[in-house]
Amino acid sequence: MRSVMPTRTEALEAVLGPAPVVVPADATGVERARAAASTVCDPELPVLSIADLGVLRDVRLDDGVVTVTVTPTYSGCPMMQVIERDVARAVRAAGFADVRVRTVLSPAWTTDWISDDGRRRLEEFGIAPPTGTRPLGPIQGGLHVRCPHCRSLNTREISHYGSTACKALYACRACGEPFDFFKDH
């Protein structure tokens, strides 16, 4: 019997895709190239574009050649090659035949680069967004992680390491649900 179950990607896209990228009619070439690169998602975080995630660092257009610069979240992120491939495809599909994708390590990626809209989308998707690595004032210390399901701050860490390098596993004491927390980095 043929399964009618949607694929994981289809299911996710139906619920909540990345934010649509609007390209104005009078956009310049580099703006169109950037918009195309911005449509690419991290396959393990299908609600965030690489622009929201801070992985997309730069897009340039010189003599018809588009150079896209990306940076990995973690050194061993296994999704980088997929992201590089998807970026090249997306920019080519926007009409640029010659696309180069550079991966840089420096400056090192930080969760502070995740956009505010990206944080909101993460929480809607069920992943608690990072609480921020920048010092907030004279008092240092981690902020409470808010449950993305019931908004309670009464949560606890189950494991420092979760389903991917960038997440930790949490559980909510109020609603009892486990959830992923995007670790501050």
Binding site: P72, Y74, S75, G76, R85, T103, S106, Y161
Partner: protein
């Protein structure tokens, strides 16, 4: 995957799609490592590669599911460091990261003996992680200011990741040492077995004089290492054993007997099917 399905593997070269390996992992377009810098990158890259391979063996064998995940994530970070470092090392003589990982024999590896110590029981792995992650923390903290931009970039990224690794090792050291009589006995034995291999990490080989500010002089890392480890051992009511110091020699290609077996397992597929992709 390709559209066709088959009951037997028909070809060695299996291509999923057009994924191309990143040519410029370190963002160092066209930058070629000088031979001495390449040798130093090989030290650090081999340390990370061998430790990653060792930790990977815990997947599905750790004491609890969360530990399978934690050790796999730590291994993945280390593999990321190894790839960047080996790729850079390879620029000196035109070898790729895969050439270096899969097609060198034991005497050509430059890892220190600590990283070659067997996984042992979980306490042994944690003791090795405590020493390794503390050493890597103090090393990358300094190396991010290296005069070599590629080494500095790799270290600047790695320093944040190894901080998590150290936290993991510290938490487990405290938990095992303060747990049951059995867990404490095992932790004491593990520290006793692993600690003789710590000294080698801080040996200044002649290479260090030649690479200058690009590298961190290993002997200068001993004090910060001890400063970080001492409170952990004190809180665990453990003592750093001083019964003997292993001769070491990994930086010169002399290795602990475990390395050959590890390489055999790690390299067999690449050597049986050179150039295979999937």
């Amino acid at each position: 995957m390709t559209g066709t399905r088959s009951h037997a593997v028909r070809a060695v070269h299996i291509s999923v799609d057009e994924v191309e390996l990143a040519a410029e992992l370190a963002g160092d377009e066209g930058r070629t490592a000088a031979p001495d810098i390449a040798e130093y990158a090989l030290w650090l890259g081999d340390d990370a590669l061998i430790l990653a391979q060792q930790l990977g063996a815990w997947i599905a064998h750790a004491p609890e599911l969360e530990e399978d995940v934690a050790l796999a994530n730590i291994a993945l970070d280390l593999l990321g460091h190894a790839r960047s470092l080996l790729r850079y090392a390879g620029t000196a003589d035109g070898r790729t990261e895969d050439d270096l990982a899969y097609f060198r024999d034991e005497p050509d590896f430059r890892c220190a003996w600590l990283f070659e110590q067997p996984n042992g029981d979980f306490a042994h792995t944690i003791a090795r992680q405590l020493a390794a992650s503390t050493y890597l923390s103090v090393l990358y903290e300094r190396l991010q200011h290296s005069s070599d931009p590629v080494l500095a970039a790799v270290a600047g990224k790695a320093v944040k990741e190894v901080a998590y690794h150290r936290d993991h090792a510290v938490q487990w050291t405290l938990r095992l040492a303060g747990g049951t009589d059995e867990s404490r006995r095992r932790m004491i034995t593990a520290i006793d077995d692993v600690w003789p291999y710590v000294d080698e990490l801080f040996g200044d080989e002649p290479l260090i004089d030649r690479v200058g500010d690009a590298a961190v002089r290993p002997s200068t890392l001993r004090a910060p290492f001890d400063e970080l480890v001492a409170p952990v051992l004190a809180e665990s009511e453990l003592e750093a054993p001083t019964r003997f110091t292993a001769s070491g020699g990994g930086r010169r290609g002399a290795h602990f007997p475990t390395l050959g077996y590890l390489l055999a397992e790690m390299q067999v597929l690449a050597r049986a099917h050179p150039g295979a992709t999937w």
